[in-house]
Symmetry: C2
Amino acid sequence: MTEQGFNVAVVGATGAVGQQMLKTLAEQAFPIKSLKLLSSSRSAGKQMEFDGKTLTVEEATPESFDGVQVALFSAGGSVSKKLAPEAVKRGAIVIDNTSAYRLADEVPLVVPEINEADIHNHQGIIANPNCSTIQMAVALEPIKQAYGLKKVVVSTYQAVSGAGLDAVDEMYEQTGQILNDEDISPEVLPVSKDEKHYQIAFNALPQIDVFQDNGYTFEEMKMVNETKKILHDPSLAVSATCVRLPVETGHSESVYVETEKSGATTSDMQAVLQGGAGITLQDDPATQTYPLATAAKGLPDVFVGRVRRDLDAENGYHLWVVSDNLLKGAAYNSVQIAESLVKLGLIRS
Amino acid sequence: MTEQGFNVAVVGATGAVGQQMLKTLAEQAFPIKSLKLLSSSRSAGKQMEFDGKTLTVEEATPESFDGVQVALFSAGGSVSKKLAPEAVKRGAIVIDNTSAYRLADEVPLVVPEINEADIHNHQGIIANPNCSTIQMAVALEPIKQAYGLKKVVVSTYQAVSGAGLDAVDEMYEQTGQILNDEDISPEVLPVSKDEKHYQIAFNALPQIDVFQDNGYTFEEMKMVNETKKILHDPSLAVSATCVRLPVETGHSESVYVETEKSGATTSDMQAVLQGGAGITLQDDPATQTYPLATAAKGLPDVFVGRVRRDLDAENGYHLWVVSDNLLKGAAYNSVQIAESLVKLGLIRS
């Protein structure tokens, strides 16, 4: 920590994303003067390490934010709805990793590689997009710049850590039970607050978050609506099918995209993606090189491979997009937003 | 076994599909007079149960087919290429579950619910389509009948048993090693004969079968070419992304389809699918009802759910299609073809 830094709070510090936020703040050497770890009353009192120091987690209350300059929220939508306005009232800028404010007109929804300048319009709250949205948007942005975007159809292969540590525990415990021929009793996945729960081990669950009236899940509609907002393209056609897999960390996505301009070859598209901010191209069929969830874990990049032109549409392309859902999909992108705030001169130490 | 039945041979009897063929022949009470279990020399001598009797597996040679009327092959393409013509020469009708003859002009490629009549044109060999192709084709057929098909984009979630028993063993062994914090050494998946092998446990591998020159895998091109042949529609636009998951049995597929006629509602499409041969509709978001690989295992149906209209395209629809890859995807469809042969009077006892 440094006297030249900022007073930072992390809300939901003990969660899957909160832990990665602390790790990323340290790794990125974000300038911190003081750090408050906040949580629900249930986790208050826990001790956590940061930068060689032991910190005690405190219960998050409105008063917790007195003197805080940047507050990173990742404790669920209801906590953000209740406490983010309190933090803003006390002068903090909130970077919110829940869906509570993402679609609000006055709230910038930011992936710094794509729309960093939107941060200038903030009114106290800046939203971090949904994990599965971020990595797809990062892959789409250079394609948009080069050829324009017309239509996107995505099928996801999402990791359980996106549903929190309880889901990770359930997956590993259930897997062990099945290997030992024991009975299982799913209680968390696909959606902890929904009525029915299904086996995640050795299975694929086509439900992430609750169903909406239109038959799509909330996760699918996040991908649709957030992608349009981040890319500043309300008329872009986007549809999604979101599926949870027995993978701990690392979302994979099969993305079909139709561009405005026709005729780019697979090589053209690979070159465009290779030049895209935040993207690492891993694409060589001859050496079986393609992105894998297990290889992406712990890295901030969005990995893109299996790039190929559709067999019929002159303007159609298929991509395989993988990223660590807790990093670029959550903690890393949030810390990037905090760094952008500093870079743009929107907070001063 | 019955005097009124047929002389049947199963080639590859000890494999993942071969075992299911025996089970399905018994369950469907296919009329069998004599049954030969054939395999490579490696598995010859093994004992297997059928209909309460113990049979000894014999090494498959050209002479093995003397007197055989129906031979079900599922022992790999090279075995079929070598021995299927020998079986035909000796008067057998071959139902081949490998990719060896599927695209040959003179070989019918049959899913009985869709194109049973094609069997009449056989010249000794009838091909059973690829597992991932069959279940998608079954779901597409009623849509084709009602609205016509224009374009299909599929992303698959495929089970390891499609890669054989070695792959199943690898998945379970590797999973146990990871749970025990032991080192792993992948040797089978994604493709046993390919150079590199990757972790399947807690991962998603975007490679099934070897890569082709166009950047698609052979599995993806099977889905493309076989779907066109089964549906008698060479101009149908089909592209696929095939992904292997840590699921033992049961392929899932996220299918995006554009129809010729526009305007069918989601309810219209559900009704059409519910009436489709071989399909069981499982589609009620209100009760979290949708197809799951674990629930499909052991059943012959193609399960369809998550049916919904694309959010933008008036003629676009999304489906989640699940089936047991060893049954409708392989053994069950092969036995159905044998039953069709009897029904159409193409073999006589």
